[in-house]
Every structure is written in structure tokens, then in C-alpha cells.
Symmetry: D2
Subunit: 261 residues, 4 copies
């Protein structure tokens, strides 16, 4: 049925499965990670074919991750590359994309008391096969804050502070090795201060003093992320966005920019 | 089919439709409101009946709100009462519940420059018919902020500030007239400061100074909401909750309490 | 402060407010609409300027919609154009964008019993000012269904059916008048059958028979939307996506395509 | 500051942290699980105390899960019990609650071709310490489907089918050992058919035939869940809910019930 001619002859860009959850394990530089990502896997469809054989997409995912006694993959993009390579043997396509959206938890130390604290970050790793070439898009989403420099100036040192989310997206070749933790650092270093799950009173005091010495608009944070990415990475397209959940408004303020590095 | 005996004889507490969207209009004390609420409507089901005739629930809603040339209802609970009364003629039940979840937009003035600003609040109005008696639950969800008194003390007047959401829920008889705008006031007055969609520099300065003079934990805000509701309303069960979206943590902090008034 | 030079000199593409809710009214061909949309409004920022004056963006919105005794705008894009025109007098920019995301409720008749039923659709209207030229992006999101032709063939006429969401996006000039209701029709006509809020037994029977005579993959629905848009609209870029919430899987299947019309 | 007297003297029921994400590992009957749950941890607050020392709540969590070389806990409720026991040494309270919300992935076999397929379920495990006694609430959320028996009867064997979500909640003593996988089975067995991530054509045919032989209203599914729980578990309060994402409507239909077992 899927191989029949369709009634309407239009080629489609992305056909496949979305929101599929499963277990994925990686071994990144000696540290083992377990994920339950949401996976999207799509391919293009010729205008002469009615449909995609969806079960072959799912099989390419499940066979690739199944029963891993030895963890074979160093990164999420390496898992994805295996899935796309396996799919190519099962189903015709010109272009295909796979993305995995998950949380990564990194142990850190609190700034003054140096206690261990676990910090969670949203990540998305997408691999695209376009005319035989692999490109990847890596994205991290990091919680921090903004501290309004305008109000600080206007109110003798007092100001409004709020939670903000900084997002960094890097598009580059498959081969360009980029550590998600380095991307997280680029975002965290652009905020007035990093935030932590655990903070004792001394840590809290340290952070608040840092924030008030270092006030930043949402625009400053986005520019800082771009600048940090420029120093750290190469041969890539970089996009940054910051969303500030204003404490004096019901709405958010946002700043978005991009550059080549 | 619905009137058959079911295979498993268990009575059910709530059977019906959920997430139904439609237009509802009210005329509350001379001011006209247009809503597109999400409606849930459920009734109980006897253990001897297989199913509910769902289309009769939908008909009770649509006929009640259809083609209103003259707006007949003063409040959302009045619309709901008409729907339950209409349903009673169509379908047997002992208990039934209907709720409408929507936004209400109220024009306000900015605190210093006195410009008009439109402020949106989440509201939910639920009517329950339990053994022939109507009870209602009114809920408002209001954006504000918290300002940490502990950090202010610990950091020579500097502190962390963040957006917070205050929720007030009142359960009372159908007849007890309660204005959603008064409920919104109870919550807004419990924050270190109200927030506004529009703020010119002078307004912003005023608000920040108010916030720093009036630091509050999430616990203080919740207690303030309860206290304001005690002064304003009677013959009701009151529940309050505040969620503070911490600017120095990835997680939120919360405080919840209740009392009879 | 905003007019100072920033520490990092990067131009930004989109800086502004997001998720602002307010009341917007339109009069589209004699029928009055009341909306509470979520509004995003952003403009680009030169690399020599530290920040955007956010309150001027909010003022452009509030003054444009405030106290409308006579409803002056025929469409959401007309409201948006007025806001961008007002913003231009207040704040420098090269490019700006405004979008409104809301629900539209349209009265329809059930297919057999011809009862009135109210149907809600998600819409998003975006206006972009790029080098002095206005372009708009209109988007509708419509609930329908898919009926698997492969399973129908494989199981002697039985098959899996499920809710699906069809999305149509049209990018065109400001002047190209396009009715959101026509866009909704393009999507609804591409499903195996339309869905309705109210359905009496005869209506339900009619719809199910139509669905089983007209089985469609998610790919067929997307192609149908593109084809319907081709017949109805001109001078536009069209994008369609269908998301099928599979009743035999935990995940969704999707199909996405685009064409010029 | 937290130990001061508050301005408003109201005791609060639940004060604490919400939405905290971290890594939790368990070893349930020899099988190792890694989770990144969302954790809520709250305690009650006396009316004479201004605030809770929030960092002590976070410390109780982080110290309990930190650096587990040997996995010490068999279940999520065992982790939670350790956290509450640790919290009791750090902070006064009468009542406290902790919940963890996460995904659990279970390997299964497809029904005909017997291929391995990974299936994800939403789970929530809550432990409550109330007057010195531990009670737990276990909840699973499972995707399945409904198949309308009324339409099948009315349309000569054709009917509308749709995705549904079944929820089972069990409240019992801490000591009553209940396997989340058994709870998942109770829900899956109540649907017209289980659903699978991977389905080859023969599996799909098997499932569709099973669905059409076994049509069920949302009411039937909820009653089935209650009945399955009655047979499997004891000394508990059971609650079940089913949400059917109708393929012929924009809205959902729901059925909810409870019983003691």
C-alpha cells in the first residue's frame, strides 16, 4: 500500500515518527550516561510513493539500542548516526533527520562551601543526512538569571532580578567534536551568576553579590553566549536565545542572535 | 448500548467530556465579558449502566450558550447552573460537576504615571451539584513576585527577587456572591508588589522600592492571601498556594495552606 | 542605559516581549471577534546599542488596542500593522515582527441533524517588517483524524483510526487577503472526515461511514492540505504538517511538506 | 530569619521545593533503573515560625542520592523514606511529603513476531509521613485505546477508535510491596488492546482484530482497571481514570472511579 502512487503528487520533506521514548546509553570520555530521550526520526518522501513504512524507522531505532551489554556509543550523535545508517539499508530516502531531546545531569560544586550538587540541563541532539553529508545541531537549555542594569542605575543599587533561560544551538559537521558540557559552560558564564540546586547561606551570599556586581539585560546574556561560543568553538553556525521571566511583568522579555564561528 | 448492564459492576464518580472549547459571554455588573473557556462536564454513573450518553452533555452546553442576542448570565457560575439544570432534564445522575477555565483581562492604571494597562489573570469556576445542593469553587491564578528577606538580611540589603504565582481557591455555596476581581486583589495585595504589563521608568522605580521595603518569603505571600481572604469573604473554605520561580535555583519553592472563613 | 555601547558588539535579530496577553477585537466582514491572544513583539538591535526600550514596545501594543469604542480593525494583521507603525515612531529598528496566537470559534452545522455546533481552531497571525516591506504568516491548527489504509487492506476492512492535527501555514504579502476560515476549510477537507463538538447518533454514523470510505495516511492528509491550498490561494509560500496521535502506538507519526502557490 | 515569628499567624500544610531534577538509581529485584525524576518535597509549618530552611530539604535529597557506588535502594519509595528520615534530623515538622515523577521503560515482546520493543510509562511515587506513619501513593499512566461499542453497533461493525490514557493510583502503607509493572499490567489489560512502539504488519493485524472483538467505552476501561486492581492488590485505596482522545471530536471524554481493595 505504501509503495502505491498517491492521489496527490507532492514530494514531502519530513515523514516519520515523533515523540518516541526509549532508553539510550552512552559512554562519553569514560563517564556513563543513561537517557530516556524523546526521539523524532523523519525522512523525505518521493512524490510517486504513497507512504513511508513506519515500522522500519522504529526497527532501526530499537535494533540499534537494544540489549547493549557493552555500551558502544560515545555520544548521542554517534547513536543517531548508527540509526540513520541502519535505516538506509531498510528504506529509500534522500534526506533524513533524527533528534533526541533529553536531560543531562552534571555534578558540580557549590561556589563557597564546595558541597556536591547535581545540576540538570535540557539538551537536544539532531543529526541530519543531506545529500550524503552528515550535519549535526546541538542545543542546550540552561537556567540562570538576569539583573536589570537600567533599574539598578535608576533605583540607587536596587533592581529587579529574575530567572532566565539561556539557549545555545550549534550547527556543524558530524566530525566536529563538541562537548555538551562546554556548551553549558558558555551559557552559564554569560549570566550575572550561575544558579545551583543546593545553596547554603554563604553560597547564596556569594551569588547575590556576584549578581549585583554584574547586572545584565537579556540582550547582554545573549551576546555573552555568542561571544563565549566564538572563543570556544570553530567551523559552526551559532544561535543563542535568552528568555527572561520578568519579576515585575506578567510577560517575558527575549533576545535572539546568531553568528558564524 | 449505554443503557445496557456493564461487564464490571462498579459505580463511577465522574464520567463526561473534558477540554471542550466554546464561546461564553457574561454581563457582570454592567461590564460585558467574552470568554473561550475550556469546559469539563461530568456526572456520576450507576453501577448498573454501561455508559453515559455523551452527546446529551454537549447539547446541554451548546443549547445554553447558543445564539445569545441578549446576554442572559451575570457570571460563569450562572451559565454553569443553567447547563446543569438543562442536563438534569436529559440524563439521570446524582452528582454532577462543570468547570470553566479561562483568562480574564482587567484594565488597571500604572502606579505612578497612571497609564492604562491591561492585566490578564487565569480563572477557573467550578459548579458541583451534590445531593441536590449547588456548591461552587472559584480559583484565580495571579502573577507577582517574592523578595527573599533572609538574603536581604544576609547581604546588606541586596537579595534575590523572582516571579511568583499566587493561587486563591474559594469553595462556597452557589448563592454566596464573590467577585473574581476581589479574589485577584486578595492575591495581588499579598505580594511584595503588584506587577504590570506596562511600566514606565517612574513606575518601575516605584515598584522596585516597594519590593525592597516589603521583602516576603513564599510562606509570607501564602499567609497574606489567606489573611486577605479572611477579611473579605465569609462562609467559605479558602485554599492558597504560592509558587516562587527562584532566580538562584533551577527548581521552584512552594507554600500551601487553607482555612475556613 | 539602553543607549550605551554594549560590552560585546554583536547585532541581535530579535529582541522584545513574549507571551504578553491582552484583549484584541476585530470586525471581519461584519462579524465581531474578541480575542485574548498571546503576543510576541520583537525588533532587531544594532551592535552599537546595549538594549531595547521594552516599555515602548508595550506602549505601542496598549495604545493601539485601548478603549476601542468603535472596532477599527478588520483582521489581526491589520491590528499588528498599526502596532508596528506606532512602534516605528517610538523606537529605531530595521526589522520587526509581531505575532498573535489565539483561538477562533466558528459556528457550524452537524452533517445530518444540522444542529448548531461551535468549533474552535488554533490560529497564529504574524506580521514581519523586513526592509520596509510587510510580509505575513498565517497559521491554522485543526483537529481531525487519520484512518490507516494499509491496515484496512490487511484486516478485511477493519483498521486503526485516531485523532490527528493538521497545520497549514501561508506566507504572503500583507495585501494578499486570506480568510482564516478558508484556511481551516483547506485542512478539514483533507481529513478522512471533519470532526464536530456535537454529534447525534445519525451524525456519528455518517462520519464513521465517511471515514471508512476514505482512509488516509498522515502523508495523504498533508498532501491534501497542500493541494487544497494550491486551488484556493495564490502568490504565497505554503507549508503543511499533520500529526497523527496513533491509537496503536505510544508515539505520533508526522508528515510535513511545502510548495509555492 | 526563618525562625522569627511571622506577621500573619497561619499554619501552612505544605512548604518546600518543587520540580527539582536529579539522578536517582534503584535496584528492583535485580534489575537496575536510572531515573531523572522531578522531585517535590514539602513539610508543614507551624504558625509561630516565619519560614522553612529550604536548603536543608535540598541537602536531605542530595546527600541521600550522592555518589552511590553501590545502589542501596530497591524502590523509589525506599529512596524517599531515607530522604524523609534524613530530613527529620535536620528540620522540625509534623507531616511531610515527597514525590518523584519520572518515566519507566520496560522491555516487552510484540504479540505475533515476538520482537523486542521498549515501552515507556509515566510513574509517580509519593511518600507521606503523617503523625509518624508512612503511607505511599503509587501512580502509573499508560497509553492504550478505546473502541466505541455504540458506534460499532450503529455502523455495522465499523466504529471510531482513538488513543486513550489510563491512570491507576494506589494508596497504601509503606510496607505493602507493590510492583509498578503489575500496576501497568492492570491498566494495559483493561484496554481493547495493548499498544506497542514496534509493530510489524502481522502484529498490527493481530491488534486490530483484538480491538474490534473487544470494543470498550472509556467507562469500561476505568471499570476494568478497578477490577484488575481488586484481583491483584489488597489493603489499599484504588483510583482509576481514563482519558479518551476522541477521533470524531475536538474534546476528550473521561471516566473516573475509586474503590477500596
Amino acid at each position: 500500500m505504501q509503495d502505491n502512487k498517491p492521489d496527490v503528487k507532492e514530494s514531502l520533506e519530513r515523514v516519520g515518527v515523533a515523540g518516541l521514548k526509549t532508553i539510550v546509553m552512552t559512554n562519553w570520555k569514560g563517564r556513563r550516561y543513561n537517557f530516556v530521550p524523546e526521539i523524532d526520526l523523519t525522512l523525505d518522501l518521493d512524490k510517486e510513493r504513497k507512504g513511508v513504512h513506519m515500522s522500519r524507522l522504529v526497527e532501526s531505532i530499537t535494533e540499534c539500542i537494544e540489549c547493549e551489554v557493552v555500551i558502544r556509543h560515545g555520544s548521542l550523535e554517534a547513536v543517531e548516526r548508527d540509526i540513520l545508517d541502519m535505516l538506509r539499508k531498510r528504506h529509500p530516502f534522500n534526506n533524513a533527520e533524527i533528534s533526541m531531546k533529553t536531560d543531562i545531569v552534571i555534578p558540580k560544586k557549590t561556589p563557597v562551601t564546595e558541597k556536591t550538587t547535581m545540576e540538570a540541563y535540557g539538551v537536544e541532539v539532531k543529526l541530519m543526512l543531506d545529500k550524503g553529508e552528515y550535519r549535526k545541531k546541538l542545543k542546550v537549555s540552561v537556567v540562570g538569571n538576569t539583573v536589570c542594569p537600567h533599574a539598578m542605575n535608576n533605583c540607587e543599587g536596587k533592581t529587579h532580578v529574575q530567572r532566565a533561560v539561556g539557549i545555545l544551538e550549534i550547527e556543524t559537521s558530524y566530525e566536529n567534536e563538541i562537548d555538551l558540557e562546554d556548551m553549558v559552560d558558555c551559557v552559564e558564564d554569560a549570566f550575572p551568576s550561575r544558579v545551583y540546586t543546593l545553596l547554603k547561606s554563604e553560597d547564596e551570599k556569594h551569588i547575590i553579590e556576584k549578581m549585583f556586581k554584574n547586572p545584565k539585560f537579556v540582550e547582554d546574556v545573549t551576546r555573552g553566549i555568542l561571544n563565549n561560543a566564538k572563543k570556544r568553538f570553530g567551523n559552526a553556525k551559532v544561535r543563542a536565545k535568552t528568555i527572561s521571566e520578568e519579576s515585575i511583568h506578567r510577560h517575558n522579555v527575549v533576545a535572539e542572535g546568531s553568528c558564524d564561528v
